[in-house]
């Protein structure tokens, strides 16, 4: 099917199947799962993923056509965004065939929800300094420790868990990646309220949680290289907007703002022009990265530049919209107040802006690294976390 036909068919399908607002009466997770199953059965989930594991095996061209069709809808798939954008691609890249067989199709069909268990109270940017332990016990591993800021964990069935398996080697060399059953006894999930008042992320406690060795992803002590795969996918999926609504329902979008602010004022017009320029610049950059991927050039660390630019655009857009709207934006639960309160999340989650700049500097521009005090020190002798 040519892209235009594909897009038209996808649009048709979305028009008939995306639940309209107001119908959100029942359990939102059940509704999301129901939608995801239909999306999968219609062939629109995992468009570019390998057919063998349940994907459609199509190209970026169809993916783009679908994204273009979806732009005018808000798909209720936020709860699947971690699985679709990060843990799923990691399993496709690095999992065993048995793991791919077991996990990928249910993930794509929305039957199982995934979360990503990397950050800890003492390890965020420097996630390789994490302290959660996994210790070998026959054919199992036993996990103890704490994770935090874990998005959608309160709904999750499975988690991709990075844990320490060796403290006698430098921090990057003693980590191993696992798939953990979030319903296993000993896993405690406590929702945390974020600055917008919502509870989308959690803290997680692991008390003697058993993981079978066949749920290990990659080699023992080679978890860092798996994590790097996940983080690359994370940045790309964030900048490509996986699981995010389009601009359609964004009250800070140019389309929304032009209806509510006085565009006869030349100062307002110029601000809106600036928003248009920045939005188009980033949208075109993302499209170019997608076209390069299709042509076989993997964007790699350049995805971090796209993620950084999106984080900055999001903060700028929320700030601009509230300035244009004026006093009403900060009272009475105004939608722009919510936009402003959620904007910082993107500049923190998935790696902070400073970390993105480090990555672009080190891996895209190949600038000299900063002197490191932690590279060769065995983990057990390293200073980590928050210390007075």
């Amino acid at each position: 099917m040519n892209p235009a036909d594909y897009q038209r068919a996808a649009r048709d399908w979305l028009e008939r199947n995306v639940p309209s607002e107001g119908r959100a009466d029942g359990d939102p997770i059940a509704q999301a799962k129901d939608f995801m199953a239909r999306l999968y059965d219609a062939g629109y989930s995992g468009i570019t993923w390998p057919e063998r594991w349940g994907g459609q095996g199509l190209t970026q061209e169809e993916e783009r056509a679908f994204a273009a069709a979806a732009r005018d809808f808000t798909l209720p798939i936020y709860v699947f965004s971690i699985g679709l954008g990060m843990t799923g691609p990691t399993l496709v890249d690095r999992g065993t065939d048995a793991q791919r067989e077991r996990f990928v199709r249910p993930l794509l069909r929305g039957e199982e929800i995934w979360c990503q268990l990397f950050s800890e109270p003492g390890a965020g940017s420097d996630v390789a300094s994490l302290q959660t332990r996994a210790e070998r016990d026959g054919d199992d591993w036993i996990v103890n420790g704490q994770k935090v800021w874990t998005s959608v964990a309160q709904h999750a069935d499975w988690g991709l868990l990075l844990a320490r398996t060796n403290v006698d080697v430098p921090k990057h060399k003693g980590l191993t990646m696992f798939v953990v059953d979030m319903h296993h006894p000993g896993v405690t999930v406590r929702p945390l309220k974020d600055m917008s008042g919502r509870s989308n992320f959690n803290e997680i406690f692991f008390d003697d949680v058993h993981i079978p060795d066949e749920h290990r992803v990659g080699d023992v002590d080679d978890g860092w290289s798996v994590a790097v795969t996940t983080l690359l996918h994370e940045r790309l999926s964030i900048s490509a907007g996986v699981g995010m609504g389009g601009q359609k329902d964004n009250p800070a979008s140019l389309e929304a703002l032009r209806r509510t602010v006085d565009t006869s004022d030349p100062l307002v017009r110029d601000e809106l022009v600036e928003l248009h320029i920045r939005s188009r610049a980033l949208a075109l950059f993302n499209q170019r990265l997608a076209q390069e991927t299709e042509a076989g050039v993997f964007p790699g660390a350049r995805g971090s530049a796209a993620k950084l630019l999106l984080a900055e655009l999001t903060l700028y857009q929320a700030d601009l919209a509230t300035r244009l709207a004026g006093p009403e934006s900060v009272v009475g639960g105004h939608p722009l107040g919510t936009v402003l309160s959620t904007a910082p999340g993107l500049a923190l989650g998935g790696g902070t802006n400073e970390i993105m700049r480090n990555i672009v500097g080190d891996r895209v521009l190949n600038l000299p690294p900063e002197p490191r005090v932690d590279k060769t020190v065995p983990f057990k002798d390293l200073k980590v976390g928050t210390q007075a």
């Binding site: 140019l254 032009r258 565009t263 017009r269 110029d270 809106l272 022009v273 600036e274 248009h276 320029i277 188009r280 610049a281 980033l282 075109l284 950059f285 499209q287 170019r288 076209q291 390069e292 042509a295 050039v297 350049r302 530049a305 796209a306 950084l308 630019l309 400073e354 993105m356 700049r357 480090n358 672009v360 500097g361 080190d362 895209v364 521009l365 190949n366 600038l367 000299p368 690294p369 900063e370 002197p371």
Partner: protein
């Protein structure tokens, strides 16, 4: 939409880059126009005929190819009338009388284009009068294209009735001239199709992308060899983070230039918005990057001998070449129907 250069376009880029690296490196830019290099550029590489239709002896290529070539000429701050001739070729391809294109394609004729809004009038015999305060490469060009009334005219710049005076330009690598026409003989080329200004904006943005990239490359290279406090300056986050932000501008600028070139070739409906976007974004980004590249060089960047100021001044000159940048922003506002 095509945002990734094709194999042939990459080959064209490599050919132009290799040629310029040998024949016109940035170090040579401050010596100004070298007619011999210009002749070889057009002869060996056929650059002046790149977008000239085949029936006039050109390569019949599109803006996607032109953009790639202009990035490379921009990156070395190529002096001389190449951009001016591209501007003229753009106008000629949209005029009824295209004869002059043959001379341009051959490399025999260097031409320039008076920017829109010139106050020039034609008398009954078709002779032109008026003053053009700033004509790009006006001293190097042989022919000036200028609109009088609704028609485009060609004026032989060596003819009687034409007085040209070189201007002292901030950008020492490329000249401008004041041209006074006082009953100058001219040939009318008819009323051109619209869309010329948009195509100039796209061509210029491609040059700006090259300037931006070269200014960034220069400071990234220097940050890897300059040491302060026992460390390479590129290892300091104050420098590294700025360079990362400059890289973000490069990525976005390149994406916009590819898009605008594609629109010029294949999507006329999108061209006005793409062209205004290209000037509004790329023009600014180019100057900002050239400025920060200069600053991050330290004191050496402020010297006459160093090339940083050449990029800084070309970037500024380009940013205002098609008029104050607010015009591009105003155009966007109009197109968005704000």
């Amino acid at each position: 939409m095509k945002l990734v250069p094709s194999q042939e376009q990459r080959e064209l880029r490599a050919a132009v880059r290799d040629f310029l690296a040998a024949a016109s490196p940035p170090a040579k830019a401050r010596q100004g126009h070298d007619p011999e290099v210009y002749a070889r550029l057009n002869g060996e590489l056929g650059l002046s005929g790149l977008i000239v239709p085949e029936e006039y002896g050109g390569a019949g290529a599109g803006f996607a190819e032109l953009a790639v070539a202009l990035e490379e000429t921009g990156a070395v701050l190529l002096p001389g009338p190449f951009l001016a001739t591209v501007f003229a070729a753009v106008a000629l391809t949209r005029a009824p009388d295209k004869e002059l294109l043959a001379g341009i394609a051959e490399g025999r004729v260097a031409a320039t284009l008076a920017l829109p809004g010139a106050d020039v009038t034609a008398d009954d015999t078709g002779r032109l009068s008026g003053t053009l305060p700033q004509v790009l490469s006006g001293m190097e060009a042989d022919v000036l294209l200028v609109t009088a009334g609704s028609a485009l005219h060609a004026v032989d710049l060596t003819a009687e009735g034409v007085t040209r005076t070189p201007l002292e330009t901030l950008d020492i690598t490329r000249g401008q001239a004041r041209v006074v026409l006082d009953g100058a003989p001219a040939r009318t080329l008819g009323e051109p199709a619209d869309g010329i200004a948009d195509r100039l904006a796209v061509a210029l943005a491609a040059e700006q992308l090259g300037v931006l990239r070269a200014a960034l490359d220069a400071i990234v290279g220097y940050a890897k060899i300059r040491v302060a406090f026992g460390r390479y300056i590129g290892s300091y986050q104050g420098v590294k983070h700025k360079l990362a932000d400059m890289h973000g501008k490069l990525e976005q600028a390149e994406s916009i230039v590819r898009y605008a070139a594609w629109a010029a070739d294949e999507a006329p409906d999108e061209l006005p918005g793409a062209a205004a976007l290209a000037q509004a974004y790329v023009g600014r980004a180019c100057f900002e990057v050239a400025r920060d590249s200069l600053l991050l060089h330290g004191g050496i960047g402020y010297t006459w001998e160093h090339d940083a100021h050449l990029y800084f001044k070309r970037a500024k000159t380009d940013e205002v070449l098609l008029g104050p940048p607010r015009l591009h922003r105003a155009r966007i506002a109009d197109l968005l129907e704000l």
